[in-house]
């Protein structure tokens, strides 16, 4: 596994732990279909959140959340729909979140959870 992928996996673990600690139930991790991959699907009460996780070692190339482009965003929308269809989830509110982590694979420097970033 490439170094950057290892960091990404680590970041997704950290994000999952963070969500669980904040009262979410993690329903799925790294779910794939032909459109791409959803990092984390988590539920909090009636709300299902599809969470995109971005991890960077430092801010030299900008904040990790800046890497979520409009194209990536559009793909997340499609993926969310796909996931709901496959898992027959219809009830409640559906939401897209983003979590940005700055860390080196061992310690977390900064973690930001943006709730409902869908326009």
């Amino acid at each position: 596994m490439a170094l950057k992928d290892e960091l990404g996996r680590w970041g997704e673990t950290i994000a999952g732990d963070f969500l669980i600690a904040n009262g979410y139930d993690v329903l799925d991790r790294g779910w794939r279909c032909r459109h791409g991959e959803i990092d984390i699907v988590a539920r909090n009460g009636q709300t299902v959140a599809f969470v995109e996780v971005k991890t960077r070692r430092n801010r030299r190339f900008g904040h990790p959340l800046e890497a979520i482009t409009p194209a990536k965003f559009a793909r997340l929308r499609v993926l969310a729909g796909e996931w709901c269809r496959v898992h027959r989830v219809h009830a409640g509110t559906v939401r897209i979140d983003a979590i940005g982590i700055i860390g080196d694979g061992i310690t977390v420097g900064n973690l930001e959870h943006r709730v409902g970033v869908m326009e």
């Binding site: 900008g62 904040h63 959340l65 979520i68 983003a98 943006r114 970033v117």
Partner: protein, 504 residues
Amino acid sequence: MTVGRTQSIALSGLSGHLVDIEADIASGLPALVLIGLPDASLGESKDRVRSAVANSGCAMPPTRVTVNLSPASLPKQGSGFDLAIALAILAGTRDVPAESVASCVHIGELALDGRIRPVAGVLPAVVAAREAGARRIMVPAGNRTEAELVPDIEVIPVASLAHALREHGTDIAVSDVDAIEPPRDSEPLSPTRDLSDIVGQPDVVEALVTAAAGGHHMFLLGPPGAGKTMLAERLVDILPDLDARDALEVTSIASLARLAQMRQLVTRPPFIAPHHTATAVAIVGGGSGVIRPGAVSRASRGVLFLDEAPEFATTVLDALRQPLESGDIVIHRANYSARFPARVQLVLAANPCPCGNAGVADSTCVCTPDRRRRYLARLSGPILDRIDIHVPVSRVSRAHLFDNTSPRMTTAHARERVVAARAMANDRWGRDLPEATELRSGKFRLAPVVVRALDAALDRGAVTMRGYDRVLRIAWTLADCDGSPMPTADHIGRAVYLRQGVHA
């Protein structure tokens, strides 16, 4: 979350409007959204602000930032909002004391390294800020001298964004940067010309003094080489210095018309001589996007000289009719309009015919009568009717050239006479000229014996009613030039001659 606020100035024409700039630092993915009718160069402000902030030791918030320029319906142009936008954002993230930023007006374009570039039109913008009640204004260091021409407002010149943050009370390291200076104005040549250069045309010089004293428009008709351009250039020299109000107006227009820094108030009336290929937009102002002042506005409070007047497009000349009458010009666009001053003294020069030799002794005109007639007919009646003083200028003979005995008026002497005449008129009339009816039948009515010749000309149909009023005005100016309290029959006679000289 948090909102940062500040203010800047949007110019339309010479008048400025205070623009409120608010930056909302919201949750969401990193983005910078600019709303409130920005044009293309203002839209690019986002990228300049982003780089300048990062290169000034601060960071753009990694969230969604919405910048609103209000009133949202007013179109905003140019790069002068960069500084205000950057500071509003940084006030929103509390990187800089928000109260200090909110209570100050900001003008300036950001360079990518965080330095602040000078912008055009700082002088009218600072004036507008003061009129709107602003107490403090931050301007690019390169525009400092220009901004400081405006009294009663605290001007804070800044060389970089870091410098601006420090001025507002942020504890930030400010490295010494060289302020970006605007392109230097080429030093104006000191006028070596003098009225006494003009030889052998004492009556034309006299007409020039009259025109300067009364602010009358002039028409110089004569063959090539008679010295029409020379005369027009000297007209502006004998005009008195501008008073404080006019100087500010002229300097504001100059500041708006080009990016060059105005180092001091312009105190001499401007002289603008557009080429005869100029378009109507070049003369009256306009342009896409930013409306820019035309020649008639740049010549405001001074002389607009149209050499070879019949060669100008008829539409261009006729476009001048309305500003000549009202003293300003309003340029309309679908969603806004801009007003510029256009109080010019118009000087037209023309040859008598296309070949230039008609009516000149010892030369033959080769133009057909019809061509000759068509040539001058290009100057429409309404334009010529607005011109009070029509002067024939003839070629100078060799005898005149070497005649050193007859006295010639110098510029200094002529200007003294003009100043004295204007002072008399000012004592009598104040700043605003009286209505025509007042001259004809009101307080300033002349004795019947004085105007007898003029009345007779009106009865004969030799002068029109407008012409009658104009002659009275010229007569008053002539009386002022001579220092006599009231026009005499002689002044009326000379006034009739000046008005109709060319056609006589």
